[in-house]
Subunit: 188 residues, 2 copies
DNA sequence: TAGGTCATGTAATAGGTTACATGATTGC
DNA sequence: GCAATCATGTAACCTATTACATGACCTA
């Protein structure tokens, strides 16, 4: 499970609570991975049981107490083991392509509306990646002073941007092709 | 759920058994969707209960009997409803990028090995898409005589190829960047 | 005779989402 | 007064994967 290893990865930078980890996810890897608190908390307990983390309660006044997790040597070893482990390319499910595949069942204009909607969403996202997301990553690099890792973080963003751009290109071409198509208009 | 609607989509071309549907999946949409028989069978029963399909047993000698499913008017309506329904872009989880993000924890050569492995896998897949997968799709178009839908099917293949090519480009660039990097070699 | 095709399923497990629950403090 | 932030969780549900079960026929 990548979630486990992402948690180990962040905790290897420094000890944190589940709540903190959620912020880390949202601020630095949300463009290719996300997790809910309701998934993070039980997973942390599990990692503790497995001896990959230890937990310590930080008592606070005025605020709820925090459970601060620390990575163990076994945790570090497991992280490195996983990072080196070979992997295949997991099949990417694309529900949108299911719609295109069966697009002959609806009117041309309805299909085009779908494609145009996806196009604008992907354009928004790529703008976000190139603007705010990149900015937050940059701040993250400066805050941690991890220049070396900053390069890897940047690479993951580049990957996201490339993917989005490929979608945009394809959508634009698909729209043109479908527009110039003779298709029955009456489908209800 | 896209699986349900993919099943409806195929059954709208013609009545089939679960086993047949599995072949349809493997022959025409496996590059963006896949399903196991153990998932298809219960889903078909569910669709029948919902009144979107009807079932008829085809008795056979020498072979196990087949359960042939037919789409109903309600099923067709549901398919069209779903096809027109607006959707966002589902977040794509990329476990490989998690590895890159935390790549600073392993030796440069180990990371490069991972990138090169992914590169060769994606290259293999894009070749398959441009060769055998395209061929099978072409045969499917000829067999069904559905030229109009053939265009949509082709578009989904193009999308897959674009995605793969984007990955390949990114991997090649990433490899070059990481190769020219000064990194501590000793990580165990 | 061993493995593949045809044809159906169930059960267990894993991974993720959504809803629900609690409760104090801070800012508008 | 109301929403957001901080901080933790549980429970139900959905989707998908893997393993298991059956059994006949066909091909190498």
């Amino acid at each position: 499970m990548s979630l486990k290893h992402a948690l180990l990865g962040f905790l290897n930078y420094g000890s944190m609570s589940g709540y903190d980890l959620k912020q880390c996810f949202d601020q630095s890897i949300q463009h290719f991975w996300s997790a809910n608190l309701s998934q993070i908390y039980p997973t942390l307990s599990q990692l503790e049981e497995e001896g990959l983390l230890t937990m310590e309660v930080a008592y606070q006044e005025d605020r709820p107490n925090r459970k601060v997790y620390h990575i163990t040597e076994a945790g570090r070893a497991e992280l490195r083991r996983w990072l080196r482990e070979p992997m295949e390319t997991p099949p990417q499910r694309q529900p949108f392509l299911v719609k295109v595949f069966f697009g002959g069942n609806i009117a041309k204009e309805d299909l085009l509306a779908q494609l145009r909607c996806q196009l604008s969403l992907h354009k928004e996202q790529v703008s976000a990646y190139q603007g705010p997301v990149r900015k937050v990553l940059q701040q993250y690099i400066e805050a941690t002073g991890l220049a070396q890792e900053g390069l890897f973080w940047g690479l993951t963003l580049e990957a996201g941007i490339k993917q989005k751009k490929a979608w945009i290109e394809w959508l634009e071409e698909a729209i043109v092709k479908i527009e110039s198509l003779d298709m029955p208009v009456t489908k209800d």
